[in-house]
Symmetry: C2
DNA sequence: TTCAAGTTGCACGCACGTGTGCAAGTTAAG
DNA sequence: CTTAACTTGCACACGTGCGTGCAACTTGAA
């Protein structure tokens, strides 16, 4: 009854502006999680008014941004697996870190905001399951802790990652340092002693801290 | 030139209302960290207007609340010491937990808000130093990790506590469970294996998880 | 060149929240 | 009881942000 029927293909710059908005949102929301639409639009070289040509609301913009980011992480993690649960967990840690360190501030407000459930049970759901599975396997394995339910241990592991994220705000870490720290903190939460964790790190330095993951 | 000179002692209910406001603020801000003055005043049985008779601004109210809480924690922690750094750290964890678990939501927004620096370097500064000292002693001791700077380890320990705080929101923990979890997570960040951590817990259950701390 | 797709600026209305002034009320101290 | 201390409700100014309608403009597709 509405939709004035497209008589012509959409203009090419429209798509460009849309992604420009998403990019700008990523940057600005990272600078200030409460950045206004005005700020974001300006950073994208658009006016606040025209944002509504691309997204029905501010929330929709942010939701899409979060979904994109979550999907990116999920894809990266999904591409790598290892039979050893401890190493697998460490790999997951490294990969997530690589995708997330750029977006520290945003990450906090998304994971701790109204989008929380939506994102966590959405694209990031499988990631959590993967961690739980690793924790379970490591427990059966004899390497991981068996004194707590896997679900809880998984939360502690995730929490350890956030602790590193937080630390990286206070004293900026290099990429390599960040990776090491995430892995160490995660394995610590899993129940390894610091020597064991360091051992894993040393034995698989290539895949855990060097540039190209394989 | 101002201050219409007190010709009489302040009314007794004034002080009462002031603390009622602080109490209400604690409760409401814990329910919703962005609770409005109106909400808080109502919960205290006062009108928004009269809040300004006790505090110059909303921020002042919150700042005082945060300061009070921080001081409480600091006092509790300061009353207990142990020569063994590992046990000392565990004790600190237990005590902080006892004081903070009621105030989960508020704790987040205070520690992650504009008050952050003010509180952390204020009443809670000594707490951080204490943790750093324990971490260092444990390292010299041979029980704690030596692969990371004590400052960093201390942050990880604190981060582990926050992870537990977070977990306790998802699946409510009993007091005892909370205490155990904080201690375990903290010792894990310190570098102990989960068996060693459990060992500490078992050996000092009386002081670490039972009701009256000594 | 034509014309729709897209952008812009401005003006609204709306919802929230803070902080203040003031007159009228209530309550405890003396 | 008298009076100062305290509370209340209302009104206001102020600021910030969102979402929308509309007319005028620019730009790219055909």
């Amino acid at each position: 009854m509405s939709d004035p029927v497209r008589t012509r293909a959409p203009r090419s710059d429209a798509a460009k502006n849309r992604t420009a908005l998403l990019d700008a949102a990523r940057i600005e929301l990272n600078r200030d999680p409460d950045a206004s639409l005005d700020t974001i639009a300006a950073a994208a070289g658009l006016s606040r008014r025209s944002v509504y040509g691309h997204f029905p609301s501010r929330d929709a913009l942010i939701a899409e941004l979060a979904a994109l980011g979550a999907a990116r992480v999920a894809a990266a993690v999904d591409a790598i697996h290892d039979a050893d649960p401890v190493l697998d967990l460490a790999l997951v840690g490294r990969l997530v870190w690589d995708d997330v360190e750029h977006v520290r501030a945003m990450t906090w407000s998304v994971v701790r905001g109204p989008l929380r459930e939506q994102v966590l049970s959405g694209a990031l759901g499988p990631l959590h399951e993967r961690i739980v599975a690793d924790v379970e396997a490591a427990a059966r394995n004899g390497t991981g802790r068996t004194d707590l339910p896997p679900q809880v241990v998984a939360r502690l592991v995730e929490g350890a990652a956030f602790a590193v994220l937080d630390e990286s705000v206070r004293s900026p870490l290099g990429r390599a340092e960040g990776r090491r720290l995430v892995v160490l903190a995660g394995l610590g939460a899993l129940g390894l002693s610091w020597r064991e964790a360091q051992d894993v790190l040393a034995r698989h330095a290539a895949r855990l801290v060097e540039e190209a993951a394989r």
